[in-house]
Symmetry: C2
Subunit: 204 residues, 2 copies
Amino acid sequence: MTKPQSNDGVRRRELRRDAADNRDRVLAAAAAAVRREGTGVPMATIAAEAGVGVGTVYRHFPSREALLGALTYRSFQLVLDAATRAAEADQPGIEAVRRFLDQTIEHGPDLVLPLHGGPLAADRETDLLQAEVRRTMGSMLHRGRHDGTIRGDVRTRDLVLFGALLAQQLPHVPNWSENARRIVDIYIAGMAPGAQPFRDSEGQ
Amino acid sequence: MTKPQSNDGVRRRELRRDAADNRDRVLAAAAAAVRREGTGVPMATIAAEAGVGVGTVYRHFPSREALLGALTYRSFQLVLDAATRAAEADQPGIEAVRRFLDQTIEHGPDLVLPLHGGPLAADRETDLLQAEVRRTMGSMLHRGRHDGTIRGDVRTRDLVLFGALLAQQLPHVPNWSENARRIVDIYIAGMAPGAQPFRDSEGQ
DNA sequence: CGCTAAGCGGACGATATCGTCCGCTTAACA
DNA sequence: TGTTAAGCGGACGATATCGTCCGCTTAGCG
């Protein structure tokens, strides 16, 4: 889906190998730091955790906003990848949904404000990824509805928001992924045809 | 449950009326600001939004940590209140759970890091509230299990974590509470007896 | 191996935020 | 209505963070 060293956002030319490595390490460190301390985390903290100088951070990402934008872009890449793989496998719609949600949980630590279009101003590239994720999730739902594994009144938006909520994670919960999987299991069970419908049901 | 002007955390003596008002306004402003900008939001921002000087903020809460602690305490008060009211009404267990989750959504904007014991160091008072919330939720589950409205393999912890996740809210989603209610409806449907059990079921 | 441009890091001046301190204001009570 | 102690606010020095700049290092190539 995404070639190794290419196009995380807007790339001008090929980076030298060490530069590309540093860029990745900065992104990874930033994702962890933002999760831990919020979007206002000092750039120096990110630099230190990535094992580079602040100058390096600012060279790759001229402003904090640019860095956060790149993080968001990468989150969507990961999520789209997960969605595509989940949708590809030849299995009932509901199982594709479950796999997708599982993978979202697994990717959790790398995701920053994803799936529903967060507070950060999105660029065109990111918008396209987001739309593609949405489309893929819609097709899973559609498949499930067709093969009788998912009730008809669940909207794409419902699934997107639930996924986004999951991806937020709860901080400081031991065994988060196990617990999250149990939440998913219950939610999935509630998507079965014949389950109690929405209160204010106006159809889908 | 909580008398008007009393005991938000540790109170020494009665506050003068204007002081009590200011304290409340600071807490409300802080909740909003923290939700919007994270726990690192400048104290000056909070003070401005509350319509008081920084000195006033620091008098009521000697440190940022104290302020965040008070926010957490208040969140638990609100949640416990909601849980108690939901559990009191004479209705099937599953409906009590639904009411509780609905109220959690409604209180959303005032809740900061609640329900599962957040990253903030908790004091004894807060711990007690938290335990009480947990107990109340457990009793709802128990009631539901007994009256046949909730399947037997759902744990208290599942419900607590789901509630905490909901309370986090997703930023920048228009009509959040409506969408959140739909998530709740699906989750509730998945709690019905006879729904598909957990994957790795080892009983409860 | 030698050259060179891309990349690196951290010191530094500018700016933002912190938390204290103190003279003015006002609620509360007689 | 007079007294007074509790409360108020914002200026201020200390500290933390920002983002730039420039001399040193090194990947990549012939």
